[in-house]
């Protein structure tokens, strides 16, 4: 089987590759967004602590 055959996927390339691409994209996005949420929560907590410090 040649590489061209592989990408052709028996004529289903137009449906198959978007499906796989989409799932991979979503998997990567989920990791990124979870990590961003953690970083954001840490920043917000740090701000909260600093505000409490300046108030007291």
């Amino acid at each position: 089987m040649s590489l061209a055959d592989f990408f052709y996927m028996g004529g289903y390339a137009a449906y198959l590759w978007p499906a796989f691409g989409l799932v991979v994209l979503v998997l990567v996005y989920n990791v990124w967004s979870a990590r961003r949420a953690l970083a954001e929560a840490r920043r917000a907590a740090a701000r909260r602590l600093q505000m409490e410090e300046t108030r007291s």
């Binding site: 289903y12 198959l16 979503v26 989920n30 840490r42 907590a45």
Partner: protein, 242 residues
Amino acid sequence: MWKWFHMLASPPHFYRIAGLTIPWFGWPALVLILVGLYGGLVLAPADYQQGDGFRIFYVHVPSAIMSMMVYGIMATAAAIGLIWRMKLAHAVAAASAPIGAWFTFCALATGSLWGKPMWGTWWEWDARLTSELILLFLYLGYIALRSSIEDPQRADRASAVLALVGVINLPIIHYSVVWWNSLHQGSTMFNPGAMSIEMKWPALSMLFGFMLYYGAVLFVRLRAEVIRRERNAAWLRQELAL
């Protein structure tokens, strides 16, 4: 046992243990998914009816199973949170919702891309497809409800009730292909003999990969939830190195 349980539920311990656990879920998940992709796209033989088009199976079915499994875990955690007033359980439910919603989106989108060449349509108001779409709306409703309530404890309780009511949809999705005359084919994954082992193992590898992936992303999101809810200033200061 109870002492261990309480220790785990204490935010500082949980935060630390979750951090240590993430790579143990994440890396095996990556390996299983890559192996599953290679097996599904290259090693598995083409289907005698659907040719290479059937390979969408390898992303569609694991996504669909995860969409329901994550909802089940979310609702169970919500119930535990309601009954035993455990904050960590509510946090599990809250952290699961976006991941489950994305798996549901993947199941619907890949199903649509599979439906077009096989059924000749992107979408049909069929029992299986409609109930899966309702699952997506349940996730989105849960997320919207949470973000609309300021007080975290009220948000926890109200969203937990919504999650529990939505559980009724899970058996409907599962049995939709049996109860109604559906365009959607019946279960092949859990039907012994429906698939040869060369066709099946990449799907199982993908599914276990997705489960571990869910664990890894869940723990990252849980750490964020723990920080957001924590009011123990001394620990936070130490953890954030202020």
